[in-house]
């Protein structure tokens, strides 16, 4: 199973990411450091491609995840919603080496969905009267002010899924779904790293989270760091409930 047989399954993330080039627009799924396509991010770091535009809710955090690409000075522009807890991004934003375009998180998600769904633009009430609306069309619809927002697309999306089949059908685990299905729709090529690769049919049609036509390349990556940003726990029940 490899690219050579016309299929979607690649042996390594480096193979699957042979299309990397300078200046690419890359969407990266995950929320903070959770649900990241860790192996793909490492492969991008290894390849050293530069001038990247990273479209991701955060751009890594605490020096990890996509922040590694910032450390490597591979990133020119970040389109995101939240950059707190990311000293590398803060530093490069302040010294002017990285541009940052902030979006309200829901607008960010909807713009990516629009990019994947062929929607030319949409009106949202989010952001009216704020810096987000500056320079954008405002329109009253049904008695409420709305901001006009445009779709987001990318050359490449990298996502992590819990299970994937050879046709690219994916299932995500818990809150690691977040932006990944949307990004897969909105990129010319989507590479999915899956914890477990299965045969077509192993996932029931009703259980597919992301249909395979949105995924061009699949790689099985069994080991993930699964970094936890804030490990909050409670005592066992009986030992005093939280």
């Amino acid at each position: 199973m490899s690219a050579a047989d016309g299929g979607k399954v690649y042996a390594t993330v480096d193979d699957a990411l042979d299309l990397l080039r300078d200046g690419m627009r890359i969407m990266s799924g995950g929320f903070g450091l959770s649900g990241n396509a860790e192996a793909c991010i490492e492969a991008i770091a290894r390849r050293g491609v530069k001038d990247l535009t990273i479209i991701s809710n955060n751009c890594g955090n605490q020096g990890q995840g996509l922040a590694v690409l910032l450390k490597n000075r591979q990133v020119r522009r970040v389109v995101c919603s939240f950059i707190g807890g990311n000293p590398d991004l803060a530093e490069q934003y302040l010294d002017g080496t990285v541009e940052v375009e902030l979006n309200p998180q829901g607008t960010f998600a909807e713009r990516i969905r629009a990019g994947g769904a062929g929607i030319g633009g949409f009106y949202t009430p989010t952001g009216v009267g704020t810096v987000v609306a500056e320079g954008k069309e405002i329109r009253e619809l049904d008695g409420r002010q709305h901001v006009f927002e445009r779709p987001l697309r990318a050359d490449l999306a990298i996502v992590r899924a819990a299970v994937g089949d050879r046709l690219g059908n994916l299932r995500f685990h818990r809150t690691s779904r977040n932006f990944s299905p949307l990004m897969a729709m909105a990129a010319d090529v989507t590479v999915a790293e899956v914890d477990r690769l299965v045969e077509p049919g192993a996932i029931d049609p009703d259980d597919v989270h992301l249909p395979g036509l949105f995924v061009k390349r699949v790689v099985e990556v069994r080991a993930h760091k699964n970094v936890i940003e804030f490990r909050t726990t409670r005592k066992r029940p009986g030992a005093g409930e939280r």
């Binding site: 929320f31 903070g32 450091l33 959770s34 649900g35 809710n57 955090n61 995101c80 919603s81 939240f82 950059i83 707190g84 807890g85 803060a90 934003y93 940052v100 902030l102 309200p104 998180q105 829901g106 607008t107 960010f108 998600a109 909807e110 990516i112 969905r113 949202t124 009430p125 989010t126 952001g127 009216v128 009267g129 704020t130 810096v131 987000v132 995500f172 685990h173 818990r174 809150t175 690691s176 779904r177 977040n178 932006f179 990944s180 299905p181 949307l182 699964n226 970094v227 936890i228 940003e229 804030f230 490990r231 909050t232 726990t233 409670r234 005592k235 066992r236 029940p237 409930e241 939280r242």
Partner: protein
């Protein structure tokens, strides 16, 4: 004697009605969950893609891929659901979240809210704050009554960059509970021992006492 942090959080928890879908902002509002009855049929929404969020996990329940919007590990209650961010914000923007309890930097008596950035300070981004403020059916802000320098945080007009306009319904501070009234605040509850004078002095807009 003004309310303690816990008093404020407990008072905010009293805003929650049976069966509601509630989103709790990062920071102090997150703690509201601790004051909801364990058998509550309230469902907590976390905008990173979880409805029916449960308490923090026990050590052996920790799942790195089950987190809240503050990136803390959490659990899923029976009947929980997970979904992508487009659907999660469709819930918020579409008015399907009954109540958002958010932190605040400034609230105007017009309902305008500023809670995402302070010019000159390190920018962090608005995350889901603008969507929640603009989209939730009811927005309650949980914040201190005045800033550390004594400047009022309940004002006639926000001076900081806005998060959303005319969105806040109620503000809970250590001094009491305040509804927005257009050109004034309405004090609907005072913390024990807090006088009307003290409130009026600390508020940057007219306050009516109900």
């Amino acid at each position: 004697m003004s309310w303690s942090r816990d008093d404020m959080v407990r008072r905010a928890a009293a805003e929650v009605r049976a069966g509601q879908i509630v989103n709790l902002g990062i920071g102090l509002p997150t703690e509201v969950a601790n004051f909801l009855p364990a058998d509550s049929d309230v469902q907590l929404h976390s905008e990173n893609g979880l409805l029916g969020m449960g308490p923090f996990p026990t050590e052996d329940e920790v799942d790195p891929q089950l987190i809240n919007a503050g990136k803390q590990t959490v659990t899923a209650r029976p009947g929980a659901s997970t979904f992508d961010s487009a659907l999660s914000f469709a819930m918020i923007r579409g008015g399907h979240v009954d109540l958002a309890i958010l932190g605040g930097l400034e609230v105007a008596c017009t309902g305008d809210l500023a809670n995402w950035t302070v010019p000159g300070k390190l920018i962090t981004g608005m995350g889901g704050a603008m969507d929640l403020a603009a989209g939730a059916k009811r927005v309650v802000v949980l914040q201190s009554h005045v800033a550390k320098d004594g400047k009022p945080k309940l004002v006639a007009q926000v001076t900081l960059p806005a998060t959303a306009l005319a969105c806040v319904h109620r503000v809970i501070t250590e001094l009491g509970v305040f509804d927005v009234g257009g050109d004034h605040f309405v004090c609907v509850e005072r913390a024990p021992g807090v006088g009307e004078d003290e409130i009026a002095r600390g508020t940057g807009a007219p306050v009516r006492f109900g």
